[in-house]
């Protein structure tokens, strides 16, 4: 490895790295830097007034609260789905496996209007839920459902490969030592899955916090009730309040960067525990 630093056989290092850095700076880094520069034109007190306004704080509560709830729901049901897809044989399995990625492939606006068609007052499901007193559309619950839709594949796709790599021997050993199936799951399988499960949870959460398209239709965007933080940025922009929009964007960016760092370390943990804990290739 270190030899190649002094003598590189392959050509194109300067060209490709130079191009990579130039393109990255031009498209991503400089524009993102603009957000922070723009915020610097605000005094700290002004910044604080914008980001702590009651209507804005209500959007944080909704966005972060519902994103956490959606990620938690996805962690539970995503794990069950991954388990079913890996451990059981059933008809239509390959089709369902392929469709798990639908939220990645389906444009968010399409998901948004489809979910609204299902959960609106006179919608497919809404017409049965409404008489029970369960309002989904235009309520926080609607936001939650959109975020569950958007986050599900993150959990399934991070847990699935780890489940596939699990050794049968581990569980056989547990069973031969007298463990019940539940004990085996709780004390043998779950600890191995935990890093991947947490990674999937964090990925789903990070995606949900920034999500816009699939949420705004079903949310109805009622101030103080069902407004999400990304929508607040758009609202400020539409009022030509660029600094206000930017201040809120900075709050979201700081949270996103913190999540990115967390996810990176979680993924490193997943990779290392995947190698030591399991793996048929050992």
């Amino acid at each position: 490895m270190s030899a190649s630093r002094t003598f590189r056989v392959l050509p194109g290092f300067r060209l490709t790295l130079g191009y990579t850095l130039a393109y990255l700076s031009l498209i991503v880094l400089l524009p993102l830097g603009a957000v922070f520069l723009k915020t610097a034109t605000l005094s700290l007190a002004e910044f604080w007034t914008v980001v702590s306004a009651p209507r804005v704080v209500a959007t944080y509560k909704l966005s972060f609260g519902m994103s956490l709830a959606a990620a938690a729901i996805n962690a539970v049901f995503g794990l069950m789905l991954a388990w079913a897809l890996v451990r059981y044989a059933f008809p239509g399995k390959h089709l369902i496996d392929a469709l798990i990625d639908l939220p990645f492939a389906l444009p968010t606006a399409v998901a948004g209007i489809a979910l609204t068609a299902l959960y609106a007052k006179n919608g497919w499901l809404g017409q049965y839920l409404e008489p029970q007193g369960i309002q989904v559309a235009f309520r926080p619950l609607g936001v939650l459902i959109a975020l569950v839709f958007i986050g599900l594949p993150f959990v399934v796709r991070t847990v699935q490969p780890i489940l596939e790599d699990l050794d049968t021997e581990l569980e056989e050993a547990a069973a031969s030592l007298g463990a019940h199936r539940w004990q085996t799951f709780r004390h043998v399988i779950l600890p191995v899955l935990l890093p991947a499960l947490l990674t999937g949870f964090a990925l789903a959460f990070a995606r949900a916090v920034g999500e816009y398209g699939s949420v705004i239709f079903i949310a109805g965007n009622i101030p103080m009730v069902s407004e999400i933080t990304p929508l607040m940025i758009i609202t400020k922009l539409e009022q030509y309040d660029y600094t206000g929009a930017t201040a809120i964007a900075v709050v979201m960016l700081v949270v996103s960067f913190a999540l990115l760092l967390l996810i990176n370390s979680l993924q490193a943990w997943t990779a290392s525990s995947g190698k030591t804990g399991t793996g048929r290739d050992r």
Partner: protein, 306 residues
């Protein structure tokens, strides 16, 4: 960030996992537990994933084929299709070239700050699409840094096609690079070095040695990149200005129709995008299958994914 979207090269391993674990009592649940897990997870799948997809097509055809076709053949719809194709036709090749260059530099050479660079490449995935639009408004918008200069020279970027392309490039930025970096890292550089020692030029080496090795990963990245490019809503919505027939992409056209209570037309246009999603998933599954079956380097690819 994109871990869940990267290609899991496990087609072959996937088939035998179920039989492996269901073969013996020690690694198998009681039947009632199995059916409970299957029942709950499949019901969850049906309600949260399948039902919205079905709803798109049923709502699109609610008023019959005639309404459906007239919604798609409308001038505004056609121009939205044109703009969506244009944006994708610019954004995907740009990010394809970048992805190959970045993966070549990162996978074939050692340098300091490599992990940091990979994290930076991932950034657009962790930024809200709305912010992706906002950053270009801050630079090119009327009140932005370059706004006065652009106005002087009569160049429009925000509320015009260039802004839409820029926002699309930003949100699809990591797709190809994210796919190729782990793949090319796992493949190492021995094959390329051998080609060079045998007298091939750098370009010949890339064309005849590297490219065949990465073709499936490349295709995979391009498909996902394209799906996102054509379907992006939030970022494009901020920079578009929603001018009908001029700066409307397909997802924005869906929103406009929906907000005008033209539900059947909105779902008709949405069904086009849903079809695109289904095609994307089909090609993606096919690529996974091809990549996972028996090619000599498929093992390396599996390791790369894990």
């Amino acid at each position: 960030m994109a871990a869940a979207t990267t290609l899991a090269w496990t087609g072959a391993a996937r088939a035998d996992a179920a039989t492996r674990f269901e073969a013996q009592a020690a690694t198998r649940e009681a039947p009632w537990v199995k059916w409970l897990i299957l029942g709950i997870s499949l019901a969850f799948f049906a309600v949260f994933l399948l039902l919205p997809l079905v709803a798109v097509f049923v709502e699109a055809l609610r008023k019959g084929w005639e309404t459906y076709w007239s919604a798609l053949a409308h001038d505004d719809a056609l121009s939205a299709i044109g703009l969506t194709l244009t944006a994708a036709a610019i954004a995907v090749p740009l990010n394809l070239v970048f992805g190959v260059a970045a993966a070549w530099a990162i996978a074939k050479f050692e340098f300091r700050g490599k992990h940091f660079l990979i994290t930076l490449i991932d950034l657009p995935f962790s930024v809200s699409p709305v912010i992706a639009g906002l950053i270009y408004v801050l630079i090119f918008g009327a009140q932005g840094w370059l706004g006065p200069w652009l106005a002087e020279h009569d160049i429009r970027i925000i509320f015009a096609v260039p802004g839409i392309v820029l926002a699309t490039v930003f949100v699809t930025f990591p797709f190809v690079a994210r796919e190729l970096i782990p793949l090319m890292q796992a493949q190492g550089r021995e094959e390329e070095e051998a080609a060079l020692v045998l007298g091939a030029s750098g370009w010949q080496t890339f064309r005849h040695v590297t490219l065949p090795n990465i073709k499936w990963g490349l295709l995979y990245g391009v498909i996902l990149c394209n799906a996102r490019a054509m379907g992006e809503f939030g970022a494009v919505s901020v920079v578009s200005g929603h001018i009908r027939g001029q700066t409307n992409t397909l997802p924005l056209h869906v929103e406009i129709l929906y907000n005008e209570y033209q539900f059947a037309a909105a779902f008709a246009v949405a069904s086009l995008l849903a079809l695109l999603a289904l095609v994307t998933l089909t090609v993606k599954t096919w690529v996974e299958h091809r990549a996972g079956s028996g090619t000599p380097s498929s093992k390396a690819q599996q390791d790369a994914a894990s």
